[in-house]
């Protein structure tokens, strides 16, 4: 046992002592990154000094730590991919990478990690990019403190900020992504954590899941994206304490759920979105303690959604609280606060004495004939809504919150 530990320490020290630092600068013996990698041995550190390095197709095929000092610029001159990592245990830190080539056949990225483990990508600034950080079939990595600023205009010729493909156990934290296609995109990637990121002004989604399971994202802000966050064909996703705001537009929502099962949505704020949450074919989802503020539609249910629970949420000043496109309901609404509730609480237990009916006839009419939205808040509409409330015909008659709270819920 003792020998084992000693030998381990000895090996560790040996490798540490052998690890060298290679400096790269314009007047140094090594004046570009590619050469530095060529001369470096495993576990060496490459320090890139301030300057502009016009390089692309940099292949990192050894476990190296590449550190930029005072943000050196790596300029790809639009010629293609810039850094490709194919080795385990690579750290890339503090670079300013610009001008990634655009292609319609290949997904060029500012930095790509391919079939590797234990990578760390941090403190990068990416501009004029196609794809930003592309993680492919890799595991156990960390991506944090990066700033990705794209200039995407159209969906077809732009790439994603951070993309994970067939990857596992990746932590994405404290990144700032804007003006790309999808801010963060996960495809076939499980057990990932996405935390404290800001994803704004992206053309398509702020965050996008496809066929990815058991992921968690929390404390992120998604603002003014083409269509907010999309979670599709995925299972067991946890969504905690995120802010979804100002996602305006025709097919725009704070959060889109499509074919999602067993998710938990808790403590999020949905404010000023055209649609707060758009749900299609999603089952067994718990919505707890979320704030829906000033949305056009707080929740839009488009059929085939079963056994979802909406418990203790705040619905504040939304044009429509809930919209259904059929009159069948299998979801439960309980103990929420609805600012549109007009009932009373005679026994003073904090719960309204008459149930609240969150689906209005008018939302059904608007689903059918969208132009009628212009009559929103008209007295006539209030009258027909009232009559529908008294005897539901077009809206699900069992869709009730039997215990509407009288005061905004705090947690």
């Amino acid at each position: 046992m003792k020998i084992k530990i000693v030998s381990f320490i000895a090996i560790f020290l040996a490798s540490f002592l052998h690890a060298q630092t290679i400096e790269v600068c314009e007047k140094c013996p090594v004046s570009n990154v590619k050469d530095a990698i060529k001369v470096a041995k495993d576990f060496d550190t490459i320090v890139i000094k301030k300057g502009t390095y016009k390089e692309h197709d940099i292949l990192v095929d050894k476990p190296l730590t590449i550190i930029g000092k005072d943000y050196p610029v790596i300029d790809g001159e639009m010629k293609g991919e810039i850094i490709t990592v194919v080795s385990d245990s690579v750290t890339v830190d503090g670079l300013f990478i610009i001008n990634v080539g655009t292609s319609y056949t290949e997904d060029y990225a500012a930095i790509r990690v391919k079939r590797s483990k234990d990578f760390v990508i941090k403190n990068l600034v990416l501009e004029k990019l196609f794809f930003g950080i592309y993680i492919e079939k890799s595991q156990n990595g960390k991506i944090f403190h990066n700033k990705i600023i794209g200039d995407a205009v159209e969906e077809y010729n732009s790439g994603n900020g951070i993309q994970l493909w067939y990857s596992k156990n990746v932590e994405i934290e404290h990144n700032f992504v804007e003006r790309v296609r999808d801010g963060i995109y996960l495809e076939f990637s499980d057990f990932c954590t996405i935390k404290n990121n800001v994803s704004a002004n992206n053309i398509r989604y702020g965050l996008h899941f496809m066929f990815s399971n058991d992921d968690i994202y929390q404390d992120n802000t998604f603002e003014n994206n083409g269509a907010g966050v999309a979670v599709m064909f995925s299972k067991k996703i946890k969504m905690y304490n995120n802010v979804f705001k100002e996602n305006w537009g025709t097919a725009s929502y704070g959060l889109l759920l499509k074919e999602i099962n067993d998710a938990e949505i808790k403590g999020n704020i949905f404010s000023n979105n055209t649609i707060g949450i758009n749900i299609e074919g999603s089952n067994r989802i718990n919505y707890i303690n979320n704030d829906f503020i000033n949305n056009g539609w707080a929740v839009k249910v488009r059929g085939a959604c079963y056994t979802n629970h909406f418990i203790s949420n705040n619905f504040l000043y939304n044009s429509f609280d809930i919209s259904y496109n059929s009159n069948i309901n299998d979801n439960i609404f309980d103990k929420n606060y609805w600012s549109n509730y007009t009932g009373y609480d005679l026994n003073k237990n904090g719960i309204g004495d008459i149930p609240y009916r969150p689906v209005k006839l008018f939302s059904y009419i608007v689903n059918r004939t969208p132009e009628t939205i212009i009559l929103l808040r008209s007295l006539f509409i209030d009258i027909i809504d009232f009559s529908e409330k008294v005897s539901p015909v077009f809206t699900p008659d069992n869709l009730l919150d039997n215990n509407p709270k009288m005061k905004r819920i705090t947690w």
């Binding site: 056009g296 044009s319 600012s339 132009e371 939205i373 929103l376 007295l379």
Partner: protein
């Protein structure tokens, strides 16, 4: 005209009804703010009140004032005064005193509540501006009705009908026609339909503030241009101005030809 305006205004400021109106709004403001303690909700409730009640009160008050001051009007007609200035003066007296009751009645409790520190100030000011516009429009329409009907009962009847039509029936017909023609592109039609009714117009103006997220959910390009930019705000205010000017011109025109 300014002199007539001055006297009509003083006359109204002293009448019981201005105080009742003022007190009503004061009370409404206080109840909404201090019992409810939720500014956003208060603004939404106020919008409903303004859209429905302000036109009603404007019409009824306008008709009532016209009929009640008939003798006074005749006294003025014998004086060396232009007819248009007599009626415009009276009209402006009514419209200004009503608007003042509205703005002060709602404004005072909101100021005490600390509105100036709140972000809702723009929504609230827009609400008051819209209310003032509606007062001007509907008292002008009321004067038109009264000028065309010697019979008081008939005048009141038409005034109530006008309100009922613009506040409720119009929207019913509007909704029916939108649903009926839903296979056609309707965004132009629906915007035009809105422009033709001052109540709908003011409602839209307020929607621009309160429900912009929902309005932007609709696909039509014209809609998008209207609601997505300042274009909608400018067009709505311009149309409201037209809605004030049209009945005012008719007051001038009609009063020139009328026998007393």
């Amino acid at each position: 005209m300014l002199k007539i305006l001055k006297y009509s205004f003083y006359d109204l400021m002293r009448s019981r009804w201005s105080y009742v109106y003022f007190a009503f709004y004061l009370l409404l403001g206080i109840v909404l703010l201090f019992l409810n303690n939720d500014l956003s909700k208060a603004v939404i409730t106020l919008m409903n009140v303004i859209i429905v009640l302000v036109p009603l009160i404007g019409t009824i008050f306008g008709v009532m004032y016209y009929y009640n001051s008939k003798e006074f009007t005749e006294l003025l007609l014998a004086q060396p005064l232009k007819r248009s200035s007599i009626f415009l003066g009276q009209y402006l007296g009514v419209a200004i005193s009503l608007s003042m009751s509205l703005v002060l009645g709602l404004g005072i409790p909101f100021i005490f509540y600390g509105l100036f520190k709140s972000t809702a100030i723009w929504d609230f000011s827009l609400l008051l501006i819209t209310g003032a516009f509606l007062t001007f429009i509907f008292s002008a329409l009321a004067f038109n009705i009264a000028l065309s009907n010697e019979n008081k009962i008939k005048g009141f009847g038409y005034a109530i009908l006008l309100w009922l039509f613009l506040a409720i029936i119009y929207d019913g017909i509007f909704l029916m026609s939108l649903i009926l023609f839903e296979d056609y592109p309707l965004d132009k039609l629906s915007l035009i339909g809105t422009m033709l009714n001052p109540i709908d117009l003011s409602r839209t103006l307020i929607l621009l503030k309160l429900d912009i997220s929902a309005l932007l959910g609709y696909t039509g390009a014209i809609f998008k241009q209207f609601f997505g930019t300042n274009f909608g705000l400018i067009v709505s205010i311009a149309m409201l101005t037209v809605w004030v000017l049209m009945p005012v011109f008719r007051i001038i025109f009609k009063s020139k030809k009328k026998d007393f």
